[in-house]
């Protein structure tokens, strides 16, 4: 026993056991990282009639009677899902979607299930076939995961598919284009619902922002806020915001707010977050230029606020604003054509 113990705890055995464990973990982890999502999705599920690989479902994925349609997140007919808004929608898109439900699918080039995507795993018999010409070309192709040089690999910091990468081609869905008149109509219809949704948070700015001065003529698409339609507001203390690039550093007490909504390809409208920036007294937080960032969810949740509870959760707001607008007191201004002259 003593001999066995000596051997087990010897300076040779301990590193050996650790190394073996690390190697086994590495193999396991590599398996996790390299697991083929498409293959996993297509794993046989005998009991599941809604298996996306079900040949019956695949034949007509846009059949409104298809029992799999609702549950299949890759179903091109289900793209965009439902809407948070009870009353607001875009009639033109709704009509188009009714006429051709498949056309309403979001044109996400990385969506492996997109109907027009030639890499559609429902179309190919073996989407992970290394001979599949789509695999090599599409860096976000889930089948490319087997490639150790795959830029989508989790450990690659240059991964263009990383969720936090604003250039991520697989990230935010392309905005549905609305005419100016449609955007205004949606906003007018939605304004009450927006205010009611954000007010659930009890946040002071969320409750009062609608009475602030609006600096956008109409809703416009903000690429830095998830391609949502947004409008810009500033309170009285922040009226210099109307000078845009010439505004300079904003005084303490300034509150800026951006409400938002998104539109699905089928015309359904849903409420997005309220983005709030409040200029605090000097010394509040040098890292954020003394701005306090808060993102208020449509269900009233506030998951974090700078220098407050959950500050780490909204740290990405600071990083983005400082990098995009280092010379404009971290303020991102709207495109000139949408500005209101004050």
């Amino acid at each position: 026993m003593q001999t066995s113990k000596r051997i087990l705890l010897s300076t040779t055995m301990v590193p050996l056991v650790v190394a073996a464990g690390v190697a086994i973990t590495g193999v396991t982890m590599t398996g996790v990282v390299r697991e083929n999502p498409a293959a996993a999705q297509c794993a046989p599920k005998k009991a599941n009639p809604c298996n996306p690989c079900n040949p019956c479902a695949a034949k007509n994925p846009c059949n409104p009677c298809n029992p799999c349609a609702a549950n299949n997140p890759c179903n091109p007919c289900a793209a965009g899902g439902g809407a948070a808004s009870n009353a607001c929608a875009v009639p033109r898109l709704q009509t188009a979607a009714k006429a051709n439900p498949c056309a309403a699918a979001k044109p996400n080039p990385c969506n492996p299930c997109a109907a027009k995507n030639p890499c559609n795993p429902c179309a190919a018999k073996n989407p992970c076939n290394p001979c599949n010409p789509c695999a090599a070309k599409n860096p976000c192709n889930p089948c490319a995961a087997k490639n150790p040089c795959n830029p989508c690999a989790a450990s690659n910091p240059c991964n263009p598919c990383a969720a936090g990468n604003p250039c991520n081609p697989c990230g935010a869905a392309s905005p549905v284009e609305l005419t100016d008149a449609e955007a205004v109509k949606v906003y007018d219809c939605l304004a009450k619902e927006l205010k009611a949704a954000y007010a659930k948070s009890d946040n002071k700015v969320a409750v009062t922002y609608a009475s602030f001065t609006r600096y956008s003529r109409q809703p416009y698409v903000s690429g830095t806020h998830g391609n949502r339609y947004v409008q810009n507001f500033a309170n009285d203390t922040g009226r210099a915001y109307g000078n845009y690039e010439k505004a300079g550093a904003m005084p303490a007490g300034t509150a800026l707010a951006k409400d938002s909504f998104s539109v699905a390809p089928n015309g359904q409208v849903s409420i997005g977050p309220l983005f709030v920036m409040e200029k605090m007294n000097a010394g509040f937080n040098a890292e954020s230029g003394d701005w306090r960032y808060t993102m208020i969810m449509p269900n009233g949740a506030v998951f974090g606020t700078t220098k407050g509870a959950g500050a780490d959760k909204v740290a990405f707001c600071i990083g983005c604003h400082i990098s995009v607008a280092p010379d404009a007191d971290s303020m991102m201004f709207l495109p000139e054509e949408y500005r209101v002259s004050r």
Binding site: A163, P273, N299, F303
Partner: protein, 158 residues
């Protein structure tokens, strides 16, 4: 070496040899949500929600309710709100209470609405306080008595 020490050494060796895989942080999901990448947000939040993180449960409920990254499903949304509400999350409680008031994802039930909104209001929140007073006006005295009894039971148990 004492048996306890042997166990400690063994546990230490196992812990070093088999580290737990990194779990996505809540902030990763929030950054993805901010960027409009709802599927990535769900991928980050779902494991956290399943492990009992009430912020992630509330966030996931919001996505299911709005149909962001998943087909809209009010019933699924209420499932996540309920888990977080029962754990004492006031945002989940007020949303679940509002859903009971409107019959969204659950059968309309003013008593349950009043109970959940009262619990959310007890955190000092004004919105659920206003909402529960609105609902109180529509309730019978029997319903109000039942709601108060349920609130008493909740407070005794939590």
């Amino acid at each position: 070496m004492r048996p306890l020490h042997r166990v400690a050494v063994f546990v230490w060796m196992i812990a070093i040899a088999f580290p737990f895989p990194a779990v996505a942080e809540f902030a990763d999901g929030l950054a993805a949500f901010d960027a409009g990448d709802y599927r990535a947000a769900i991928a980050a939040w779902r494991p956290l929600a399943e492990s009992g993180d009430s912020d992630a449960q509330v966030a996931l409920a919001g996505l299911h309710r709005a149909g962001h990254g998943v087909p809209a499903d009010a019933v699924e949304a209420m499932h996540w709100y309920r888990l977080a509400a029962e754990a004492g999350n006031p945002v989940a409680q007020l949303n679940l209470g509002d859903a009971y008031a409107q019959g969204i994802g659950v059968a309309a039930d003013p008593v349950s609405a009043y109970v959940w909104l009262s619990l959310a209001a007890a955190h000092g929140r004004q919105w659920p306080e206003r909402r529960r007073l609105e609902i109180a006006h529509t309730m019978s005295s029997a319903q109000m008595a039942e709601a108060r009894a349920r609130l008493d039971r909740w407070r005794a148990e939590h």
